[in-house]
Symmetry: C2
Subunit: 186 residues, 2 copies
DNA sequence: ATCGTGACGACACGACCTGTCATGACGATG
DNA sequence: CATCGTCATGACAGGTCGTGTCGTCACGAT
C-alpha cells in the first residue's frame, strides 16, 4: 500500500487531539495534517473547511428526512416529530453525554463554530420541512412543524449537555415538550 | 477636512452596489474599498468581517431585549412575545418588503451568509432568553419562550419575503401564530 | 504655539482555501 | 505478463481574508 489507510479518520482524530491541547482557533490546518502525516491539500479534500472536521459525517438532516418519510402514514405531523425525536434520542445520544457536552463547549467558545452550528440547525429544518411537504403537509404548516421539531431537539440537547448525569436525553425531551405545550395553551 | 465623511455609509453603499452587479462572493473587499475611496484596512475597522457589511447595524437583539424588559410586568411571557413581535412588524418592516426580499435572496444564495444569518437568530434567542430570565422566568422556560419568539419571527419573515404584496408582515405573523397554536393543541 | 486625539494610509504577515498538474500503487483487461 | 485507467495523494502556486503595527496629518483644546 502506498499510503496508510483511514486518512479521514486520522485527520479527525489528530484535529480533536489538537483542539483539546490548544483550542480550536489556535490550531492550524497544517498542524493537523502534520500530525496525521498528510498534506494541507489533502485535508481540504476530505473536509470542505476547517469547521467541518467538527460537524462533518453526522448526516443528521438525511437521517431525519428518512425517518419522517418512513413514519406511519396515518400519524399527524407533530406525532411524527415526537416519534423521530424519541428514536434519535435513544439511538444517537444514549451514553454520549460526556462527549456531547465537550463538543458543545468547544462550539460555544468559538464564534465561527457557532455560525456553522446554527446553520446546521437550519439545514435540519429545511430537510424536515421538505420531508413533511412530501407527506402532503401544506408548506407553511410543514415549515412550522419542522421548526418546532428543531426547537425541541436543540433546546433539549443544550439542556442535556449541561446536565447529562441525572436525566437521559429522552426525559429531557419530555420535559421540554411539556413546557412547550404549557406555553402555547395559555 | 482631510477625508470625506461617512466612510461607513460609503463602504456599505459601494458593497451593495457591487453585490448587485457581480454577486456577493465574487466581490472582494479591495474592490469595495476602491469604489469607496478607502483602503482595505479601513474596511475592517468598520466591519468585523465581510459578512457584517450585510448584517451590521441592525441591533435587533438589543432592541428585542429592551422591549421585553419594558413590557408590562403582569403579562405572561408569550403575551410579551406577541407584543414585541407586533411592534417590530409594524415599525421595522412596514413598506420594506421589496428590500427585505432582495436581502433574503442574497443571503440564501450564499452558504457563508446563511451561516451568519442563522447565528444572528441564535443571538436573538440568547438576548431574549436573558431578558425573560431578568423578568423572573425560570431558565428552561425562558429558553423555550425565546425560541418560540424567534420561530415566529423567522418563519413569518421568510413567508412574507416570498409574498409581501398581498399581506402585511403583521397579518403573516397572525397566520403563523394560528398555525403554531393548532399544531401544539392536537 | 504646542499637544493630544482620531481617522486613515502603508505595509507586512499568517491563515484559509482552491486550481492544477504530477506521481505511483492497484486492479482490470487483453 | 503487459498495458491501461483510476484513484488517493503530493507538490506548488496563488488569491482572499483578516490582523498587528506604525506613520501621517487635520482638527480642536489648552
Amino acid at each position: 500500500m502506498r499510503w496508510a489507510p483511514d486518512s479521514r479518520a486520522r485527520l479527525q482524530r489528530a484535529a480533536f487531539e489538537l483542539f483539546a491541547e490548544q483550542g480550536y482557533s489556535a490550531t492550524t490546518v497544517p498542524q493537523i495534517t502534520a500530525r496525521a502525516g498528510l498534506t494541507t491539500r489533502t485535508f481540504f479534500r476530505y473536509f470542505a473547511d476547517k469547521r467541518e472536521v467538527i460537524f462533518g459525517g453526522n448526516e443528521i438532516p438525511e437521517r431525519a428526512a428518512r425517518l419522517i418519510a418512513e413514519a406511519p402514514a396515518d400519524l399527524e405531523p407533530m406525532e411524527v416529530v415526537r416519534l423521530v425525536l424519541d428514536r434519535v434520542a435513544t439511538e444517537q445520544f444514549a451514553g454520549q453525554g460526556e462527549q456531547t457536552a465537550a463538543l458543545r463547549a468547544i462550539i460555544h467558545a468559538n464564534d465561527s463554530l457557532r455560525d456553522r452550528d446554527a446553520r446546521k440547525r437550519d439545514d435540519l429544518v429545511r430537510a424536515a420541512r421538505a420531508a413533511f411537504i412530501e407527506r402532503g403537509v401544506p408548506s407553511l404548516r410543514a415549515g412550522v412543524v419542522a421548526e418546532l421539531g428543531a426547537l425541541l431537539f436543540h433546546t433539549a440537547l443544550e439542556e442535556w449537555a449541561t446536565d447529562h448525569e441525572s436525566r437521559s436525553m429522552t426525559v429531557v425531551l419530555d420535559q421540554v415538550m411539556a413546557l412547550l405545550d404549557a406555553e402555547t395553551h395559555a
